[in-house]
Amino acid sequence: MLRAGATTDEPIEAGIRAIQQCHRAADEFARGAAGPVKALYSHADDVTLANPFGPPVVGWRNASAALDFASTRFRDGEVTGFDGLAKHLTKELACILEMEHWRAKVSGREEITPFDLRVTTVFRREGDAWKVVHRHADPISTSHPDGPLRSS
């Protein structure tokens, strides 16, 4: 709902802010912090997460647990860049397609490993905020205890 005097650019600006917040949160995730990513997620029953660590999970409780698990697999890392490949936007839904460039110590390894993720993110407007309702991320392989480094 728009406040009196609000312009129609506000949802777009809020959307851009949400993407930027997502990028910052991913960077913190590479250092083992799940809090910022979880703060951006919707708490609805229909949210989904399909990450490199396991099958897709549905619902906030399961997504929260999956994010907690995945964050324990990353230390001392950073996301050095995001390549935006496409965006699809409506008033209530936004689909953002990106490549994420990561460097981190994965699953207890001592050395930093670079890897790239193909990421599809869906945001939904909930009140004044855009919340993540779906994230599908893969390094082009299946799940494995090592997550994105399963082939090494």
Binding site: P55, P56, T142
Partner: protein, 145 residues
Amino acid sequence: MREVDKFLAAVLPLQHEADTALHTGDAKPRKALWSHTAPVTVFGAARTVSGWAEVEQLFDWLASSFSNCQSYDCEVIAAGVSGDLGYLVGHERTTASVAREQPTPYELRVTLIFRREGGEWKEVHRHADPWPETQGAHEQLARFK
């Protein structure tokens, strides 16, 4: 009927027809289901492509590799729609031959995005990777030339 149910009722039969045909060697229904207007992208199990020229080439290559589709199913895990944009998260189970080998079942997790153009839902993005802890998709991918 809720909007999301109308969306699924419209796209799932088209998706079923397109993928059954693709896995039988015919790319035409899938090409007809897709938008030809940028941006169109595929984060596919086999390749990553962007723009209609690359997407069309990918579908032709996939169709030339697949044959003998015995079954295709997409189980919807989640979906949403707003105006002319919709998405679904699904579990695809397919049995088909790659490179004329024995038909092999394989499973993918998929995110599909559709945009309504001229009153019809057209696919604009497909993100697919092997369903975790299954081997079928890896076997199939190894057979592609």
